[in-house]
């Protein structure tokens, strides 16, 4: 049963893979995004692109109704409240996150990941938070520590609610990082030999056994999520899960491979509004 499903997936991908592969040779990031948007919207003409922020929920009214019922008074409000306290607690030197982040930390999440020309690499919002900590004599948090970085960003990202995702890919070095992320996204790996795109491009909107697969556009705007209402998961933590699900060894969170992937993947959501932190199944 499982095998048949996988074979069906593989068969479906071959044709699409060629079409997408061929079209992206000389593409710009904005061109990539538009082409992908066209692919989804022509396949699903009844679903508006702005509803892709709901992920798979956009494809299923029953799931969406549950999301809305839970978001009405989310069970994880007290966690976000903990994040707010972390955010507002001054460092030992009396400074705060707000005093060392651009615009006081408001309406900035949609600019990240950002290509930092001085450092010559992609920096994520988590990197910027850690830079802020170390500059003020505090220890950096582990990127994948949900109790610290996770909870803090579950609140911090709410300060950017409504901001339009605006990932810039301009310099040649930035383009190279973007292309590296794109390569990871479209490259097959793991014992099941899946790419990110196998599920989230070619099969977005289809079911993989019980799971409805979400489109890659709209993915990056709503993290972290509280799965099942209480299990906090950040975007790179989710990538980690995806790699494991296709039986691949996940690259380290906060490393170049993950950061470049997040850079590319986030740019696909350019133009969509940010919303943190949300419920997912």
């Amino acid at each position: 049963m499982k095998q048949r499903m996988i074979m069906k997936l593989l068969a479906g991908m071959t044709g699409l893979g060629i079409a997408l592969g061929a079209a992206t040779v000389h593409a710009t990031p904005e061109g990539d995004r538009q082409e992908l948007a066209k692919f989804y919207t022509s396949k699903y003409p009844n679903i508006k692109l702005e509803d892709y922020v709901y992920g798979a929920l956009a494809f299923d009214a029953d799931s969406k109704a549950q999301y809305e019922a839970i978001m009405e008074f989310p069970p994880f409000e007290s966690e976000i409240e903990k994040g707010r306290k972390m955010w507002e607690t001054p460092f030992k030197n009396g400074k705060t996150y707000a005093s060392c982040l651009p615009n006081g930390g408001n309406q900035i999440a949609g600019n990240y990941p950002m290509f930092d020309e001085a450092q010559g690499k992609v920096v994520t919002l988590q990197d910027v938070i850690n830079a802020c900590r170390t500059a003020n004599g505090e220890e950096a948090y582990k990127i994948n520590d949900m109790k610290t970085m996770g909870v803090l960003t579950s609140y911090m990202r709410t300060l950017s609610n409504g901001m339009i995702m605006n990932i810039k890919v301009e310099s040649p070095k930035a383009v190279a990082a973007y292309e590296a992320g794109k390569k990871t996204f479209y490259s097959r790996s793991g014992q099941l030999n899946f790419a990110c795109s196998s599920c989230h491009v070619q099969n977005a909107g289809n079911r993989l056994r019980s799971e409805l697969l979400s489109p890659a556009i709209g993915h990056a705007v709503h993290w972290p999520v509280f799965r099942g209402g209480d299990n906090l998961v950040t975007l790179q933590q989710r990538y980690d899960g995806c790699f494991k699900q296709v039986r691949a060894v996940p690259p380290p969170q906060g490393g170049t491979v993950m950061n470049n992937l997040e850079y590319f993947h986030s740019s696909l959501s350019n133009g969509l509004p940010m919303k943190a932190s949300v419920f997912r199944k």
Binding site: E72, F73, P75, F76, E77, S78, G229, D230
Partner: protein, 104 residues
């Protein structure tokens, strides 16, 4: 001690729409701790009562089948903006919590 509970109460016409979020693990007593393999003892809210200006409007018995951080929504006809909603809960270990808000 238990974390605060939150209440939202708003008038819609002549009906007050009241929503309560309680913070509680709601352990069934059947879940095993992932690390120790031991059963986590049952720990859940058993009673919830709500009053508006001192008049009882809801008295609930809950079982451990209510989700973690329980949510309760109910509707009451008759109150006015500014009326005081008080919600109390008691769990199976005797812990209690109370919160109040004015209807907006």
């Amino acid at each position: 001690m238990a974390e605060p509970m939150r209440i939202r109460a708003t008038m819609a016409g002549d009906v007050a729409d009241i929503k309560v979020l309680m913070n509680h693990p709601m352990e069934t007593g059947q879940r095993k701790d992932a690390k120790t393999g031991q059963l986590v003892p049952a720990h859940f809210i058993q009673d919830v009562t709500a009053t508006i200006n001192g008049v009882a409007v809801l008295s609930a018995n809950l079982g451990s089948g209510v989700s973690k951080n329980p949510y309760l929504g109910f509707k009451v006809k008759g109150p006015k903006v500014g009326d005081k909603v008080v919600v109390n809960w008691t769990d199976n270990k005797g812990d209690k919590n109370t919160a109040e808000t004015a209807i907006a």
